[in-house]
């Protein structure tokens, strides 16, 4: 399955099937810091992905201190 990461934008391939929560653990991403978007649709952390899925892990943390 194709994984899209941001800041900077990049793509990686990971062998499925895999549950979203396990994917985040494998990539060492804190679930508090991303949205999981599978094939353009927002999904929760118990979603099971297959090899055909395209998954965006969209960061949600913005940094300005103003």
């Amino acid at each position: 399955m194709k994984i899209i990461l941001r800041n900077p934008r990049r793509e990686i391939e990971i062998q499925g099937p895999m549950v979203a929560d396990s994917l985040l653990r494998r990539l060492e991403i804190n679930p508090e810091t991303v949205l999981i978007i599978c094939n353009g649709t927002l999904v929760p952390r118990d979603t099971r992905f297959t090899d055909d899925d395209e998954i965006e892990l969209r960061p949600v943390i913005s940094g300005g201190a103003a």
Partner: protein, 320 residues
Amino acid sequence: MKCRRCKAPAVIDIRRHNAAFCRDCFIHHCKEQVKKAIDEFKMFGPEERILVAVSGGKDSLALWHMLAQLGYRVDGLYIGLGIGDYSDESGVKTRAFANAHGYKLVEVSLPSDYGYDIPTAASRTNRAPCSSCGLSKRHLFNKAALDGEYDVLATGHNLDDEAAVLLGNVLHWEPGYLGRQYPVLPATDGFAKKVKPLVKMGEREMAAYCVLLDIDYQVEECPMAEGNRHLGYKEVLNSLEQRSPGAKAAFLSSFFSRGHEYFREAAHVEKGELNSCDECGSPTTGSRCAFCALRNRVISETPVSISRISNAPISISRKD
């Protein structure tokens, strides 16, 4: 996962609420949380005119959308900061959002109207970029709210932003800053009333709100924010949140309900007596406000093309 309200398939889980929601129930949940914050902190009423500071990011666009959906009289204010492609794209997204919804957008350009941009200010003054940016935005937000005779200025600071600021203020035990950290700051001479209606909303929820409503926001991080202290505080708090869901919300809400009162007086003591800035008329403790001091320093050293300089003084006695 199933939606807590209607049992339909969920699209997002929120660990601190020990709940998951479907699309419609999540949007309902967001609006309820914002209504709760507005009521709890007595932010504004239905007849008041609200100016929302919008950056093109998820929080401010979502806030603008929510307040309009809730029936409030709300306009947007966008400040072009001159941070290269990042600012160009943020402006495009903000204008597109305003046009698509028929909302009124007020625009100010730091380079065109005041003769400098944030990258130049940061390099010429040796200030952290976020410091020059925050100082400039606070001044121009306030000026626009007063000039436009708005009753209140709303910003998109969310629970994560405020918890990170609180952690920074506590780490340095800053009584004046702690006294001024509250979801509502009342209007005083020369200062518009300021409110933060997203104080009960996590930033993951705000991003989800935009995704679910197809609000096209600026996803990329500001290139000048990289490595700032604020991001470090958020990282620490999110590590804590992962181990103890609800920790961030408890930290912040407990401060508002039980801690803030002990610092309230310090906010007034540290502010001191205010005069009018010699150049722009804004309130200041010296003869020149921090914004004019920053701008003078930057433009005196910077040969930038100035297409238009706006230096109209603002009135410090508010018309109600």
